[in-house]
């Protein structure tokens, strides 16, 4: 404890995270899922598009298919691996983009106040007024369907959420005495923004973004279901769930397996978010 290295720097942040077993488990789950998705072609899981009409809706284990086949006789395991590529990309990439843009806009609004604040926040309010999925549909409808469209539309949907949180957090931070103390010490505006406001606004945004990732996998699935995201036969966990509903009674595993994966990944993102919150907040760190 007290006899640690001369400069502990930020090691304790990692150690705080490692103490949170749920978060560590969640991170491990996500890493494994991501690895399987990224390395899908080399996992030996087979071709996700190869349809075997003779073996449709096969239960797990049948005919050499570890997790069975779907209603077109395609290997479920391969489709889950390949589907992970789309679903994780849709969950993670737009959230990262929206976090960066939303954080910048929200901090600008909260720090500059006045007219800049009004313009930014009223614009975001307009976006905010639309239901999340409706707005995504509107954006996706204008562009050609595909994964890029999906990423763009979800990014636009998320910006107001992150922007608002960032602005609120910025307002809270700028009213703290340490901001005035920094000014009294002669700090420049940019130093105050980068060294005093950003680090204190950063952790709630990271936590929020992490939990959003789980949700965005579900939203992305919805877009695919509506035909605005990736197009069949490309696999996507959400699309797999919606395809499987037709054979829900005969072959529940076609729906349940991707559903369980979405649930597990979403939960994992939430646990990861909790762990990050504790690890990123210096006040929760123990000595």
């Amino acid at each position: 404890m007290a006899d640690a290295l001369p400069f502990r720097l930020r090691h304790w942040r990692l150690s705080a995270f490692l103490r949170d077993h749920a978060a560590v488990a969640a991170a491990a789950v996500l890493l494994i899922v991501a690895a399987l998705a990224v390395f899908a072609p080399w996992t030996g899981a087979g071709d996700p598009y190869e349809a075997n009409n003779a073996l449709r809706n096969a239960p797990p284990g049948a005919g050499g298919h570890l997790l069975g086949t779907d209603q077109q006789g395609r290997d479920m395991l391969a489709r889950l691996f390949w589907g992970g590529r789309v679903s994780l990309a849709v969950g993670v990439v737009p959230t990262l983009f929206a976090s960066v843009i939303g954080l910048a806009l929200g901090m600008l609004a909260g720090f500059a106040r006045g007219i800049a604040d009004q313009i930014i926040m009223r614009t975001l309010d307009v976006l905010f007024a639309f239901p999340m999925v409706l707005l995504a549909i509107a954006v996706a409808g204008v562009l050609t369907p595909g994964i890029v469209t999906e990423i763009v539309s979800i990014t636009i949907v998320l910006i107001p959420y992150v922007g608002r949180l960032a602005r609120t957090a910025t307002l809270g931070v700028t009213s703290m005495p340490y901001i005035e103390a920094a000014r009294a010490a002669g700090a420049t505006q940019s130093a105050i923004v980068l060294r005093y406001v950003l680090p204190n606004v950063f952790s709630p945004i990271v936590v929020y973004a992490t939990t959003l990732m789980g949700l965005m996998i579900v939203v992305g699935s919805g877009l695919s279901f509506l035909g605005l995201g990736v197009q069949p036969p490309v696999a996507d966990w959400g699309a797999m769930v919606s395809d499987g509903r037709i054979v829900l009674r005969r072959a529940p595993h076609v729906t349940l397996l991707p559903g369980v994966v979405i649930l597990a990944v979403s939960l994992a993102f939430n646990f990861l978010g909790d762990g990050l919150r504790d690890a990123l907040d210096p006040r929760t760190a123990r000595r």
């Binding site: 001369p6 005495p177 340490y178 920094a182 009294a184 002669g186 700090a187 060294r195 006040r283 760190a285």
Partner: protein, 328 residues
């Protein structure tokens, strides 16, 4: 007087909108002498902190300084632009705040925060600034400074945080230190140590200290000169002995009689000042203390206060000062 490091003249600061706002600092004048300590005393809301913020140019809109001068080395700080003022803040005038808990950035290590002040004003490397931060921490009495510089504010106790804030305030060896209620948030035992530290540092650097406090005990221990503020105005100015032994303003007398003496028996009644400070949105037209003053006459309610010189170094803004002193 030539040894004035900071000469505040007729400072006026208002908060809030033009209509419905209030004048928090209303024509405040006082002087800070080289190497000496001036205390600004008053109740909460009397404009002490607003005065300090005005000097530092830290009044946020819609509040603003509407009049007066703050002369530092013959230069009026109120006329400086933000960039020029930034070079004064932290470098020429260091400031120590009331609440050490919230005056430190929780996301930055103590050493980095002190180094931040140094790099803001001097062209030194980050490593050099860090090294000096450690020296400063040592200097203000933080044990094991090299290791503790890497700690974050929440690792520090209240007293240690205030030491760190003081270290940051003196990092560039300022000529003036403004300490706004530096010990109010601290334990009594720690208070004495922090005051001792401030005093020693001031002596050593030959700096002038503007000490803002409501604690007359602190004033007696630290100050050379005292300005007593009430409702945005300075009601009495004197050297510390005169103020304690020959107070000329009824408000000063009332403040002094509020102080408990350990020698007092339990039966000795406390003497709180009757009434409450005026609402500054609608200040009393005449002497602002008149509504609470035991010596007030009808004329006081319309008397426009002016500083009456009792001696060369003692001014009192009370039309009945002669009677107050006689009564003494």
């Amino acid at each position: 007087m030539s040894d004035a490091v900071l000469d505040v003249r007729g400072l006026r600061t208002r908060f809030g909108p033009e209509k419905g706002g209030l004048v928090a600092v209303d024509g405040v004048s006082f002087m800070l002498r080289r190497g000496r300590t001036t205390a600004l005393v008053g109740e909460s809301g009397s404009g002490k902190s607003a005065t300090a913020q005005s000097i530092m140019g830290l009044i946020d809109p819609p509040g603003r300084v509407t009049g007066g001068q703050v002369l530092y080395r013959g230069q009026d700080l109120l006329t400086l632009d933000e960039a020029a003022m930034r070079e004064i803040r932290g470098a020429r005038i260091g400031m120590v705040f009331q609440d050490p808990l919230t005056s430190l950035n929780p996301a930055l290590s103590i050493g980095s925060q002190i180094a931040e002040t140094i790099t803001a004003h001097e062209d030194v490397s980050h490593a050099e600034a860090q090294r000096r931060a450690v020296q400063l921490l040592e200097h203000v009495g933080v044990a094991d400074a090299a290791r503790r510089a890497a700690d974050y504010p929440h690792h520090f106790s209240g007293g240690m945080r205030q030491r760190a804030l003081i270290a940051a305030a003196i990092a560039c060896r300022p000529e003036i230190i403004i300490a706004d209620e530096p010990t109010t948030a601290l334990d009594v035992t720690v208070q004495a140590k922090i005051l001792r530290l401030l005093h020693d540092l001031q002596q050593e650097m030959g700096a002038s200290l503007l000490l803002i406090t409501h604690d007359l005990g602190v004033v007696a221990a630290m100050a050379d000169e005292v300005a007593v503020m009430y409702a945005g105005r300075v009601v009495e100015q004197a050297d510390v002995d005169t103020l304690f032994h020959r107070p000329g303003h009824p408000y000063t007398r009332a403040l002094l009689s509020c102080v408990m003496d350990i020698g007092d028996g339990r039966d000795t009644p406390l003497n709180p000042i009757a009434g409450a400070p005026p609402d500054l949105r609608t200040p009393p037209p005449g002497c602002r203390f008149a509504p609470r003053c035991p010596m007030a006459e009808a004329a006081c309610l319309s008397w426009q206060p002016q500083d009456i010189a009792v001696s060369a170094t003692h001014t009192v803004a009370c039309r009945r000062v002669a009677e107050v002193l006689q009564d003494g």
